[in-house]
Amino acid sequence: MDNKKYIVSPSPHIHADISTTSVMRDVIIALSPAAVVAILVYGWAELLVLLVSIVSCVLLEWAVTRWMMKRPSTVGDLSAVVTGLLLALNLPSAIPLWIVFIGAVVAICVAKLPFGGIGQNVFNPAITGRVFLLVSFPAQMTNWTPTPGFVPVPDAVSGATPLSLLKEALKGGSTIPQFLASNDFSMSSLLWDIGASAGELSAGALLIGFIYLLIRRVVKPWIPLSILGTMALISVVFHTVNPDIYTGPVFNIMTGGTLLGAFFMATDYVTSPMNVWGGVIFGVGIGLIDMMIRYFGAYPEGMSFAILLMNCTVPLLNRWFHQKKYGRT
């Protein structure tokens, strides 16, 4: 008929309007309320941490893929931005910026690219970066002195997260009531204390972000639910048995990286099981390990370690759990 070259391809001929980039963009949008709150409360310092983290992740990914791996760069998919954002939200605002950079190097150049880049890494890059820093720079990583923010916050004095204060006290042999009395705290004031990593700061902002992800169908709720459920269950049991040394469920869910981890990091597609039941086991494992570390370990909280440990089990979970196939029992 005419000489126009028409496209030919196997079916289907249309495609949903999503891409890796759009998925990552959704995650970034979902994280922005938490980031904004963090910047308001911790000011320029936090802004710098965020910037350094994101920019280093992106630049490292770009440089390494282009110059060392000689592959097309994958920064366009925005996954490095997500990694940088999550890494920054896991760090104290007072942290020296060169340490942030080291975290980015570990996340991108150790945990992600050697495995082949996006989609192939077995460990969550942001968490690997954070855990590496936690182990390497324990002093700086636990210095939660709040930096001056843009909005005034009452009682911005504490130099440690409630969790690490409590851990210290408990390791030192005192009980929770003694701890509260001696520090002039109430349990609820602990919850709203702001000496925390940026990401831990506002449960509300995180929750809004997570609901956005759920609505956009980016993630499914099973993993976070099973993490939080397991943690709540364990805390209820222990807290009931001995409220003097075991903290309760609300405290455990609201403090530390629990929400950030459960909502945004345990749900990373790449490093979590594909199947619902695999995901539930994954979540239960995370909850269990986190509580074990909280109650008995050296660290005040263990969300990052728990996720990283359960990342090791993902290939096995993917092997053992498959979705139910049509017409097969």
Partner: protein
């Protein structure tokens, strides 16, 4: 090069022979090194004692005492005090100290005999001058042998409260041993 055939006789003979020769070698090595080894161990002890107690010409006398269900080895140096070996659980495993307690009950000095703390963290208990020097001349009667976090008077090694705590506990135990020795007066061997 043809190896000998693998008959029962050959095999037994060969292996037994090799074992015999090796045994002889090891035996001789043992005999030869026995003294230097003992000497080295002795030297280490002597050096440690010398580090933790004021100078003295007296030869240390070894002894052992049971305090709180645990046996403590100690060296008594006449005129200088007691060098007490005290072990507690640190972060990564056991932390073994020699604590020199002078006759007046003050801690003269301490030294780490062995530990398995984390390099860069707890392991600094062997090198961190600020930390170690706190114990020199520490008077348990005036100050409390515990880290500040626990309401004591000692600054902990940065980011290594657990090790510092174990260290303080070991020293504190040694002081208790010292008092027991003073009270009980004699070895209870």
């Amino acid at each position: 090069m043809m190896a000998a055939a693998s008959t029962l006789k050959n095999m037994v003979l060969c292996l037994t022979l090799v074992c015999l020769i090796c045994a002889a070698v090891v035996g001789v090595a043992y005999a030869v090194t026995k003294e230097p080894i003992d000497a080295a161990a002795q030297a280490k002890t002597t050096a440690s004692i010398a580090r933790v107690l004021p100078e003295s010409d007296a030869t240390p006398q070894e002894g052992s005492v049971r305090v709180g269900g645990t046996d403590y080895k100690y060296y008594k140096v006449d005129g200088a005090g007691y060098a007490i070996i005290s072990t507690t659980s640190g972060f990564g495993g056991l932390l073994s100290l020699m604590v020199g307690v002078a006759e007046d009950g003050t801690v003269h000095n301490t030294t780490v005999l062995s530990h398995s703390e984390t390099p860069g963290l707890g392991a600094k208990c062997t090198t961190d001058g600020n930390f170690i020097s706190q114990f020199q001349g520490f008077n348990p009667a005036e100050k409390t042998l515990a880290v500040k976090k626990d309401g004591g008077d000692l600054d902990a090694i940065t980011a290594s409260t657990i090790t510092s705590r174990a260290y303080a506990l070991a020293v504190s135990n040694a002081v208790d041993v010292f008092h027991q020795l003073k009270q009980g007066g004699q070895d209870d061997e």
